[in-house]
């Protein structure tokens, strides 16, 4: 990305939402920074972010890209399955709507 034409730097800073901080925490924990079981590397995470493609920068926020990449990594590693994720997302979605 270095050197590509781009606009002026918007010095935005937002206070991170709770869910964003939890995504950050998942990254820290799953990559073994605090010494726990290392279930992924930052390299896999970065590869999965790159795999989202350039449109992802417009379509998704920073932590939306991260949560997607972490989830992809967990699927690739076999920690979770797509079926489990689908079932859980439906369950959580219904719970939230209730």
């Amino acid at each position: 990305m270095g050197g590509l034409p781009a606009g002026s730097v918007e010095r935005t800073e937002h206070d991170y939402a709770d869910w964003e901080r939890r995504v950050d925490a998942l990254m820290v924990l799953l990559s073994g920074v605090f010494g726990g079981r290392k279930l992924m590397t930052v390299d896999e995470l970065r590869k999965n972010i790159e795999a989202l493609g350039p449109e992802a920068y417009d379509a998704m926020s920073y932590y939306e890209r991260w949560v997607t990449a972490i989830t992809q990594t967990m699927l690739q590693r076999g920690v979770i399955t797509t079926e489990e994720l689908a079932r859980k997302m439906r369950e959580v979605g219904e719970r939230g709507a209730g």
Partner: protein
């Protein structure tokens, strides 16, 4: 196991290969094909290209901090003549210049 040999010394002039392989790569596009000087050997590290593919990236391989003159990287650079950019690049991306 013997340490992977460090081919380049600080002060040596090197060029970054201008290649575009698939996979996860940590050599930025903007610096490929550019020539600079070895500032230091940073150490030996597991290969991130392999780590990204869920392999262990071993044995660790030499990583260098390479210093480039900005006016040699960007044809239209209008900053200072001595402005530089330092990039950390793995040995397998470098060749003698």
């Amino acid at each position: 196991m013997a340490l992977a040999e460090a081919l380049f010394q600080p002060g040596e002039r090197v060029r970054v290969m201008k290649i575009d392989p698939l996979g996860h790569v940590r050599t930025p596009y903007y610096i490929r094909g550019a020539s600079g000087v070895i500032e230091r050997l940073c150490g030996r590290f597991a290969n991130p290209e392999e780590l990204a593919q869920m392999r262990d990236g071993l044995p660790p391989r030499p990583l260098y901090r390479v210093r480039f003159l900005q006016r040699e990287v960007w044809p239209d650079y209008r900053g200072g003549r001595d402005d530089t950019v330092d990039v950390e690049i793995f040995q397998h991306w470098l060749e003698s210049a």
